[in-house]
């Protein structure tokens, strides 16, 4: 099985600090791939490189078997890669619909087609099981943390995306909402999308993922099938970069 999204040999530095070293990573259609690693391991940086927010210093991004160059968020969106960022990236002063279509507004001629955007947004939100909001014309500033998370996820699944990457989507959520988001993550994968889930919670990771990729200090320690490893092994990979015969060679 070939991965839908594959990166090879990614290097990324911020000035003198090299944050990613020769990172390889794959995500498969129909599967949830968990990306784990300690704080500062480089998970968000890797995701931003894939999303075209940061230019990569070296390495290749291969999408659907073809090497691609992602110059910016638009390129990533056109490929079908959608990212829910750790800091959500919503505009507080815009309403839910406006945020969901930001940068990709529907128009008829010169004019924004508000009505069709509103309909589509409502349909997408209907499909996600989350807490109620009063109106989808509500400003995002008036939403709770969980509701914002929902809007950010809805924004990612609104488009006919092939890869959805979620950077710690449950970090701000309560127990019930976390369960809902995890269920959603699973459902997205079951509909054939390649889902990448970044999380610090091992229980969540083992509950929904098919594969686990562990980053250690900017290096990919190992990418394994979830069924082949134990909690303890993954924790070891995260904290020391190796576990038995897995991990970075010494």
């Amino acid at each position: 099985m070939t991965p839908l999204l594959e990166v090879r040999g990614i290097d990324k530095s911020f000035g003198p600090v090299q944050v990613l070293h020769d990172v390889a990573f794959s995500a498969y259609a129909g599967e949830v791939t968990a990306l784990v690693g300690d704080n500062g391991a480089g998970k968000s940086t890797l995701v931003k490189c894939i999303g075209g927010i940061y230019p990569i210093d070296g390495g290749d991004i291969v999408f659907d078997g073809k090497p691609v160059i992602v110059h910016g968020p638009r390129d990533a969106g056109e490929l079908g890669i959608e990212i829910v960022y750790q800091d959500l990236a919503l505009c507080d002063n815009l309403d839910i619909v406006q945020n969901m279509f930001l940068g990709r507004e529907r128009r008829s001629g010169l004019v924004l087609d508000e009505d069709s955007m509103e309909e589509l947004a409502a349909q997408t939100l209907d499909g996600l099981s989350v807490r109620t909001v009063k109106s989808i014309r509500q400003q995002v500033s008036s939403l709770s943390g969980g509701q914002r998370q929902t809007v950010a996820i809805a924004k990612a699944v609104l488009w006919n995306s092939k890869v959805v990457i979620l950077d710690e989507p449950t970090a701000a959520l309560g127990v019930a909402q976390t369960a809902q988001v995890l269920e959603l993550v699973r459902r997205l994968a079951d509909t054939g999308l390649a889902v990448v889930l970044i999380s610090h919670n091992m229980n969540d990771v083992f509950a929904v993922s098919d594969r686990i990729a562990a980053l250690y200090l900017g290096r990919m320690a190992a990418q394994v099938k979830t069924a082949d490893v134990t909690h303890a092994q993954v924790v070891e990979l995260i904290t020391s970069g190796r576990s038995g015969d897995l991990g970075i060679a010494q």
């Binding site: 999303g51 927010i53 910016g72 968020p73 638009r74 969106g77 990212i83 960022y85 800091d87 959500l88 990236a89 919503l90 505009c91 507080d92 002063n93 815009l94 406006q98 930001l102 940068g103 990709r104 507004e105 128009r107 010169l110 004019v111 924004l112 009505d115 509103e118 309909e119 589509l120 409502a122 349909q123 997408t124 939100l125 209907d126 499909g127 996600l128 099981s129 989350v130 807490r131 109620t132 909001v133 009063k134 109106s135 989808i136 014309r137 400003q139 500033s141 008036s142 929902t150 699944v157 609104l158 488009w159 006919n160 995306s161 959603l184 459902r187 997205l188 509909t191 054939g192």
Partner: protein
Amino acid sequence: MNKVKELPGEAIVTATQSPSIANSVHAYIERVRGGDMGALPAVLGLVVLCAVFAIARPAFMTSINVANLFTQGAAVTVIAMGLVFVLLLGEIDLSAGFASGVCAAVLAVTLTNMGLPWYVCVVAAILTGVVIGTVLGTLVAKVGIPSFVVTLAAFLAFQGLVLVLVREGTNISIRDDVVNAVANKNLPVWLGWALYAACVAIYAGLQLFRARKRSARGLVADPLSLIAARVGALAVVAGLLVYVLNLERSRNPALSSLMGVPIVVPVILVLLVIWTFVLRRTAFGRHIYAVGGNTEAARRAGIGVDRIRIAAFVICSSMAAVGGIIAASRASSVDPNTGGSSVLLYAVGAAVIGGTSLFGGKGRVLDAVLGGAVVAVIENGMGLMGYGASVKYLVTGFVLLLAAGVDALARKRAAAAGLR
């Protein structure tokens, strides 16, 4: 459109409240409580100021004075409209006043000294504004100098530029009838009423059309009663103004009749409609709000943030050019003080008093018009009361501080209410 939508799960969107006047009023009160005052302070201020001046000085409400109000406030209002775009990004343009002076000087030089036709000169003045805006915007967006510094430097430089253009302080008079008509002539009485009828009809038509379209799609639409209330309010206020402006205001009507809506009124109206359309109904306008609200989110949505920034400065400086043309027309001349002294501060004040936030992301073009009206009323009313420049400056400064304070407090309140 995506597979996800057929998936099971409880709905996120509860039936939105059925719309009615009561609900709309309720929602509005909630918004104001939450710190989003919108145009409320400006409208209230305008009503109170007008009432006070009308009682203290009956001359305030006469046709001649109301017409004066419009022509006095026009230039500042137009400059403020452009400033709204820059303020929406959380930036500032301190050079807008003198930019209008430079553009007015270009108009005067090409018109009077070179004798070119008026339309060539007007285009030249506006193009000057476009060039100024492009330079300022590029310095801010591409080079990354804070807009405060860039436009402060431009503020100084443009003063010099005006002096160069008008040859160290001479006064260039403008004799072109078309240019002078803009701020000094009026529409015929019948045309004023015709325009009024057209505006009210178009406004009502658009509102009804939108509501129809939305309810046909099963979306929440404004109820008829609310639309009727809005259209009614517009019809009454605008009707009163047109009526007053169409009264005879010549002291000696037998010699020369003076009545009608000043030409600047439709000019401002057209600009208001165009820029409101751009901000509210186009993707470009949406992106301006997005960049002002959360620049990083806008960038990640693939919006060309630099392009938007430059465009906002171009709009601001071009509107300053239009303001300069109106100022030149009103004075029938251009001198080194055109666009100088308090013009910029009044314009920033107008935008902020109208409800545009200095923190970016919040504001409308209408704010500039409402705030411009407040500034003009203060200036004019204080003059009628016999106060000199000193008191006018003090009062306007105080009102600006008050408006900025309301803005800052509203923000704090919104933060406290968890709205930000």
